[in-house]
């Protein structure tokens, strides 16, 4: 009993410290990262197209890697302070719990089970994966409604099978569904034109289109998004300030795109901010840093190093990458996507 009271007293004291100090101290995880001098972030034991890859100079690259480098810049001021720990899919959650990594940024979907039973804490999503259709371009289709009367191939027993069936039926699109046991069989059947279209996870479809077919122009990924799969950073429970930090990192990247701030023009705009929002974001007006226990210039440094969200996307998955994946849902709210940010006031 005494012990509990003691704990409460300590907690109350700890809670009152930021209020008294006026500015937040770095959170425990952030403090650990600062003391260590490196951010331990998840890589992959191999490659996950577009998200985690290795370039010709044996260095990591990809959307997830850029997020890690952004976080390292925000906390430590240097993207190269992100140390990427290669982990398999199965290993990522135990590795987070044992402290081998500070957080998981590894194409990880935010699910209720992980949030509750695994004791994780998820950031706001930085990517939405969606089930989509890919079709032969010579059919001339651009959206799923035009697949009426067509044959759709799917991988048997996956959630995609159910999602695609539900979507087509509820939109009254006549179709014949053909399921295949294995992904490779499915792709072979599609390429042999045994089906008009096939359903799969959007980023995977883009990879198949970019790599496994002779002519990527001959295939279109239809604009309809059948589902969403929110991809978030996962952290240990119990360090809300660190979650805040990661959330506002993602928010700053999206906000920068919304405001037209890129890695090229960030210094120019910071020197002469057109609005108070921009001034606040780039640290010309104080506030964005001290409330997270960071420097006020952190967002500016991050944008200068890795660019805004649109630049990261284009470089790794979008038009400047081999995959040419459309922004789709991952566009800003004002461009028809679902990306939005909290107000940075």
């Amino acid at each position: 009993m005494l012990k509990t009271i003691g704990k409460f007293a300590v907690a109350a004291l700890a809670a009152s410290v930021p209020v008294l100090a006026g500015a937040a101290d770095p959170s425990p995880t952030t403090q650990k990262i600062i003391d260590r001098g490196t951010l331990l972030c998840t890589g992959h034991n191999g490659s996950f197209f577009g998200f985690v890859e290795v370039n010709d100079r044996n260095e990591w690259k990809g959307l997830d890697i850029d997020m890690c480098r952004g976080l390292a810049t925000a906390i430590l001021g240097d993207p190269d302070k992100a140390q990427i720990v290669p982990l398999s899919w199965a290993q990522r959650f135990p590795a987070l719990q044992s402290g081998d990594v500070d957080l998981i940024i590894k194409a990880t979907t935010w699910t209720m089970g992980r949030d509750t039973e695994l004791g994780l804490q998820f950031s706001i999503p930085y990517f939405l994966g969606a089930a989509q259709f890919m079709a032969h371009a010579d059919l001339g289709v651009t959206e799923a409604a035009e697949l009426d009367g067509g044959t759709i191939c799917v991988e048997a027993g996956t959630t995609i099978e159910r999602i695609a069936g539900d979507f087509l039926s509820s939109n009254n699109i006549e179709h014949t569904m053909v399921s295949y046991e294995k992904g490779a069989e499915l792709r072979a059947a599609y390429l042999a034109k045994r089906c008009d279209a096939f359903a799969g996870w959007g980023p995977n479809l883009a990879v198949i289109r970019a790599t496994e077919v002779d002519d990527s122009e001959a295939h279109v990924i239809l604009s309809d998004q059948l589902s969403t799969d929110p991809i978030s950073a996962a952290m240990r429970q119990g360090d809300e300030e660190f979650v805040d930090l990661v959330n506002y990192l993602i928010a700053a990247l999206i906000k920068a795109e919304e405001l037209g701030i890129t890695s090229e023009n960030v210094d120019e705009i910071a020197a002469n901010p057109p609005s108070t929002t921009v001034a606040r974001l780039l640290g010309a007006d104080p506030g964005i840093g001290e409330r997270l226990g960071l420097r006020d210039s952190w967002a500016r440094e991050v944008i200068a190093e890795i660019g805004n969200f649109g630049q990261m996307y284009d470089r790794n998955l979008g038009k400047d990458s081999p995959y040419k994946l459309d922004r789709g849902l991952n566009a800003l709210w004002k461009d028809g996507g679902v990306l939005y940010t909290p107000i940075i006031d």
Binding site: G43, N45, G46, S47, F48, F49, G50, E53, V54, N55, D56, R57, N58, E59, W60, Q83, V85, P86, L87, S88, A90, Q91, P94, A95, Q97, S98, G99, D100, V207, A210, T211, E212, D214, S321, P322, Y323
Partner: protein
């Protein structure tokens, strides 16, 4: 197949035939003796040659070799696209090791190979030579790879990878596992029930667990259980667990060798007044090694191939590096070439191991002398 007539062989007796003519005669007898034999042989050889030609045509004749010429790989009728190896071989050989420091990984790799090759040479087969050799070889590997102890930039073990990591894992596991296996086998033969039961328990316990589970526990679960100072680096935990796994199987191989030695030899040794250790080391063990050799080579070869399993605990060994080598948009279509390259590397090492095993078997033959 036709029966050889007596007159045929009698003329051959007069002068010894050259190897070539003997081969031709053998072919005649075995493959072309009757019209039906000839037809089948022609078909089979023809098919084999055709397949061989397809492979050569793809791999060599129509192949594209340089990374700059990658556009030619997309041309219709292009063969193997070795450009991917040209561009990505450093990733396959060295994993995530920093690009500027690759000479260190190369040197470390050579040091390990030299150590293994030298330990295979009979002239080195004494504890006074082998132990210093191993210490020097492994120390050289570690100092070069890690770097901070000899004033080079530090490279932590999670950045080690590729072929040099595969070789290091393999040789450490075998070197640690072999004596451990012998120890367990001896314990299992002990007359003291506690020692014997302990060994039996360890062997049966570890053998009942899949290798994957053992390694996953060592890499991921142990750090949660152990205090910080006992954890050590992930790579050492994994090597120790792998070596234990190897030792438990190898102990059973040795046990088979022990069981082939008649009890009379021990008794004869004792009757001559030799100590138990002398009998063991000078009489029994050399014979045990001989009996256990084929199965041991088998274990060693299996272990070499099984090192690829560490991919699941996040080590960038050769196969993981190969996956990363074609795991990027521009190189993704050429996974076949990458696998062929990695397969060739595995083949070179495993074939050499097998040939060395054959050599050892011949050398150890008693009736040779």
């Amino acid at each position: 197949m036709a029966v050889v007539s007596a007159s045929d062989t009698s003329t051959e007796m007069v002068k010894a035939p050259s190897r070539m003519s003997r081969f031709i005669r053998m072919l005649q007898r075995r493959a072309f003796a009757t019209p039906a034999d000839t037809a089948i042989s022609v078909m089979v050889f023809g098919l084999l040659l055709y397949i061989l030609w397809l492979a050569v045509d793809w791999a060599l004749v129509r192949a594209v070799w340089s990374a700059q010429a990658v556009d030619q790989c997309k041309v219709d009728g292009a063969g193997a696209c070795w450009s991917v190896i040209d561009a990505r071989h450093r990733l396959i050989l060295f994993g995530l090791y920093p690009f500027e420091e690759h000479w260190r990984s190369t040197a470390a790799c050579i040091s390990i190979i030299a150590t293994v090759v030298l330990s295979c040479v009979p002239a080195f087969w004494s504890a006074r030579r082998l132990i210093p050799l191993w210490i020097v070889g492994f120390a050289a590997y570690y100092l070069l790879m890690e770097g901070s102890l000899i004033g080079l930039p530090q490279v932590t073990t999670d950045q080690w990878g590729g072929l040099s990591l595969t070789l290091f894992l393999f040789s450490s596991v075998v070197l640690l596992g072999m004596p451990m296996g012998l120890g367990l086998a001896l314990m299992r033969r002990s007359k003291m029930p506690v020692v014997r039961l302990t060994a039996t328990l360890i062997i049966d316990f570890v053998r009942s667990l899949p290798l994957l589970t053992t390694l996953f526990t060592a890499a991921v679960i142990l750090p949660i259980l152990l205090p910080e100072w006992l954890q050590g680096d992930k790579i050492w935990r994994v090597i120790l667990a792998f070596a234990l796994f190897f030792a438990c199987y190898q102990a059973e191989v040795f046990r088979g060798g022990f069981q082939a030695i008649p009890k009379g030899q021990w008794e004869a040794g004792k009757a001559l007044g030799l100590s138990q250790w002398t009998v063991l080391f000078d009489i029994v063990l050399p014979q045990v090694f001989r009996h256990a050799l084929p199965a041991t080579i088998n274990m060693v070869v299996l272990t070499f191939k099984e090192t690829a399993i560490v991919i699941i605990i996040g080590f960038f060994e050769m196969l993981a590096s190969a996956g990363a080598a074609f795991g990027t948009g521009e190189w993704a279509p050429y996974y076949l070439e990458v696998y062929a390259f990695v397969g060739l590397i595995y083949w070179v090492f495993i074939f050499s191991l097998g040939q060395y095993g054959e050599y050892l078997k011949n050398r150890m033959k008693v009736d040779r002398r």
